[in-house]
Symmetry: C2
Subunit: 350 residues, 2 copies
Amino acid sequence: MRASITDVAGRAGVSTATVSRALRGLPHVSEATRERVLRAAEELSYSVSPHAAGLASGRTGTVGVVLPFVNRWFYGQVLAGIDAVLRAHDLDLLLHNLGDARVHRRFFTRMPLRRRVDGLIVLNLPLSAPETEALASMGVPVTVLGSRIPGFGGVCIDNRAGAATAVRHLINLGHRRIGMITGAPDDPRGFATPIARREAYRATLTEAGIVPDSELEARGHAGIEEGAAAMARLLSLPDPPTAVFAESDQMAFGALRTLRRMGLRAPADVSVIGFDDHETSELLDLTTIGQPVARQGELLARQIIGALAGRGEEPGHTVVPTRLVIRGTTGPVRTARPSSRRPPEALTPP
Amino acid sequence: MRASITDVAGRAGVSTATVSRALRGLPHVSEATRERVLRAAEELSYSVSPHAAGLASGRTGTVGVVLPFVNRWFYGQVLAGIDAVLRAHDLDLLLHNLGDARVHRRFFTRMPLRRRVDGLIVLNLPLSAPETEALASMGVPVTVLGSRIPGFGGVCIDNRAGAATAVRHLINLGHRRIGMITGAPDDPRGFATPIARREAYRATLTEAGIVPDSELEARGHAGIEEGAAAMARLLSLPDPPTAVFAESDQMAFGALRTLRRMGLRAPADVSVIGFDDHETSELLDLTTIGQPVARQGELLARQIIGALAGRGEEPGHTVVPTRLVIRGTTGPVRTARPSSRRPPEALTPP
DNA sequence: GGGACGGATGTAAACGATTGCATCACTGCT
DNA sequence: AGCAGTGATGCAATCGTTTACATCCGTCCC
């Protein structure tokens, strides 16, 4: 029913080999013949079978993307960046969400993308040594976001530098008692980002002559609710922080909500700084560390495309810059504490 | 280099046909043989070539998803729902972002998913008659979100009912001068959702004996900025609205920002209601019309899977309910207007 | 004891491209 | 005239499965 290359060849009066070459724009086809083949294909509304082509050529025209979440702002942005570049090169995008740890394991034992993709982009997933090995054994270029793995391409931000900037910003405002809301998940896989940011937080304090106080580190999973709970815990300390660095904007949102509900104000009572420059941050006037998110997706896709065009050289690593985005939730430390409490209120005050 | 089915057959001492049957759990294979084949496959770390399998069987094990945005909250949620169901059935997810109109057109002229997928999920894209025809001609089950197309499965919310509920909520609070921020994009494709919500807005006003005033309809593209600008326009009218229904939460966020920047408060000065129940809405205390977003993705995927298991029956349409989520940005109309203005302020007031 | 039956297995024909190699017809030189 | 070189084209092997059909063999029952 569906026209095959043989049909096109018949109609154009040439061999299938010529059809194949003509359709793919390869050389060694006369203009007249190409013309004729194109017309025949058009008339039969022919389109190549990706399976047959893949089987014969070994190429799939597809790039796999594996990630831990599809429904978070960050990954949506990255995905958009990847998609834009891939689309421009006529590559398809096969999405594989490794949401929970079980799916993650299954992915690495069964390797369902083996032979399905020409390249693989891994977003922020922690990879064990055997997992890295498994990916490498797929025999296609791999690019990872958020870590640096020899043999694979990579794009990342400098989490330490970003976190240090955030903490230094607070220190420069006069804060000494600086808390951190950290999203160490109890996910058995150890995500690298939270760890890097937390360590930089401690190191920066130490550099400034402040002794890190583990009481001031409030942990929870990522997410607004967890951020809110963490902030509540910090505020109930005997000697609460005057400023808080939240590992992510998401958690900072929760922190802001807690402040509001407790009748406290940022930055008057507590300064808050986040990390990511989430789209909502501007709305909430949150000071944060910004990173170019969609850009990172584009870079990842470009690396894959480079590797595919491949001069087989060692893949590169790109570090994209972060920047301090100063908005309204950070300010100088108050000398008198605690400030006057006001009754809880909604976003827009009565 | 990579083991093929022939290698496995050789090692297990059976034919390739038996290997194929054993591996796929088909009947007519003795337990002992199956055992032996499984072991051989394991030892060779064999995995089937999707291309070869697809070529031979005509099935791809892949479902295509086409959508207009990947970097918006709504689509991320839907995608997560789809992914979860597909993953559970071992189906792959091929993502196709038809961001701008040019890509959209190219998609429908070239049909790059033809023969690539066993089923197709279309999210909220307006389909012309020839486009619908083109999709139908792919010969695979199709399910669409947001519209009702004969021959295709479908999932949608009742936009009219939802919008009517929103407007009625405002009317019940005593509002008579009710504006709408509507996101009619100048995208040449006519998205259906904005239109439905706008028409319901007018109809509901009329039903309540209020004459719709076109001055009170502020248009813009979707997005926070556009919502903010639209609200600014409404507020600068000689007789501004006391309540505003925003077509989407996103636009409502912008509206709230404008209010705040102008020193006005919701709901004291202006009530605001949105639509979607975006994850940020709870944070901003926005009254809105909620819809189960991830759920819709799951339903779409389930429809495809049902069609694939296929008893060839006419695909179904599911309408999922919306619900009014009352939070803090709507309230009774003030008798005295305009209320006292206060100076502009940030999220957390001074 | 022999035919019918049924489950396990093998044979081989698709599926629909890509591509290395051979062929062919010119062109331009010597 | 003969030959090398070149661009266009065709031939046919190949990729790795699935699956319709044939075969084989043991059982059961009359």
